[in-house]
Symmetry: C2
Subunit: 282 residues, 2 copies
């Protein structure tokens, strides 16, 4: 992923103006790092089916990371999670102010679509990618999930509703990342298969995140942890033991599905999942 990291650093949103800190603010959380899990998923699929397209695919992976990063900035706002720390750095509303954090998020949201509109693909592919990112990252995807999460804070949801919450908040963008990889390499049938796989992978990802929230310190995580007490996390609803079991059950389902994938896709996915798990342990 070093090449993607370099791509990102060479394509940071630029904005020279009379505003002394706007450009720094829109770049800050992108530079701060993060696991780049969603870009890795997209790039893994492209690498498996058409490694020659990887250069173009960076643009799409970057667009997903832009959307994901804006959502973190807004989730951390005082009105929402009020988090002081993200990716090991002070959050934007702490470093600057709320206005800057809201607007930097807004700018990155829209910029994701600007990047896709200029990505080196056919117009057909550009439109498919834009539709996929907007559908999963917006009104009836990630934003809805965050709205449900915030609304039901301090109110207990059923486990089925917790799954609805996290399917929207986390899993749809992860599923879209895999699907967008398949769109880029023109594998239409694979796109749907990977989307369904990605929803389950996203839920597993979220359960792990919920588990780490209670087992990891803020310093280890680079963000505020032990912060989910009043949230509908898998751990608060199921308890730690049941959450581990749910994760194991999902992991087994995913392993079976991976068995049906092409060898080259299997190889890419296993590499990046191992990489991701290692990052989480650090």
């Amino acid at each position: 992923m070093q090449n993607f990291e370099n791509f990102l650093l060479n394509h940071l949103p630029a904005s020279k103006s009379i505003h002394p800190t706007y450009e720094e603010a829109v770049q800050k959380m992108l530079i701060a790092g993060g696991k780049r899990f969603r870009p890795a998923l997209l790039l893994g699929v492209v690498n498996a089916y058409n490694p020659l397209m990887i250069g173009g695919a960076y643009h799409a992976a970057y667009a997903i990371e832009l959307l994901h990063t804006y959502s973190l900035i807004h989730d951390d706002l005082p009105a929402m999670d009020n988090s002081p720390l993200r990716r090991g750095e002070p959050t934007l509303h702490v470093l600057f102010d709320e206005v800057t954090a809201i607007l930097a998020g807004d700018a990155l949201n829209t910029y994701a679509f600007e990047v896709l509109s200029n990505a080196p693909f056919s117009d057909f592919t550009r439109v498919e990618l834009i539709r996929e990112l907007a559908t999963n990252g917006g009104l009836n995807g990630m934003v809805l999930g965050q709205a449900i999460d915030c609304y039901f804070e301090n109110r207990v949801l059923s486990i089925d509703d917790v799954k609805i919450l996290h399917t929207n908040k986390t899993a749809k963008l992860i599923a879209a990342s895999l699907k967008m990889g398949a769109i880029i390499v023109g594998e239409e049938k694979l796109a749907e298969t990977l989307y369904d796989f990605g929803i389950k992978l996203g839920l597993l990802f979220q359960i792990q995140d919920d588990i780490l929230d209670v087992t990891q310190s803020s310093q280890e995580a680079g963000k505020l942890t032990n912060n989910d007490e009043n949230k509908n996390s898998f751990v608060t609803i199921l308890g730690l033991d049941e959450a581990f079991l749910e994760a194991e059950s999902l992991a087994n389902t995913l392993l079976k599905e991976i068995d049906g994938f092409d060898e080259k896709l299997k190889s890419e996915l296993s590499k990046l999942l191992v990489h991701y798990i290692n990052r989480h342990k650090n």
Copy 2:
């Protein structure tokens, strides 16, 4: 514009979920009305050159209105203008809460691009429209303008910098509205001409708005007025008399440019500008 209004009401962002107020929140400010000035500009251009395309053009006009509406919702937030009233209705953070207002804005921002990705045009046109809206409505357009506006509150800018502020905050989206109309009807050269015209029209629009802020009551305007004291408005920087002169000078330039337009475009533009001015007087 009644047909567009009906189109909008028939295409409101739908979101059925366990969240009891999310759908209402994302629809509220769209239903509340507004002048629909940006949609009218786009539709006026399409009507002038290819009235048969007007049905498709509603989708693009709607996308612009979605982006504009999200920006109003975020501008009204407590951290920014802290406005209690918009389009004659309580603002979303008053009616619901800050979280809902932030997320409804986020959802509408992304939804604008979802709408364009599904609009009944060729993929080529879709991509052009998406690029135009994202470029003018985001990082180096509307969002930058709002960031400059907020940052320099209580600090006096030069008149040149005030123009930079409002070119970004207001004029670029107005210019993009005209240009997107030209893109839809395939008039590439006209697109650039109309963009330049739109920047000036947007500045005139802003000067009028600044003048009305000090001469109109909140009830007349349907939003909080007399609210620009610490802002870099054309009136606070130039004074009311100079602002009137600046508006007149811009209006004269625009009238000269309109002289060079095709008869059908002249007719459309003059109709909608008269309509717009009347709305402002009410």
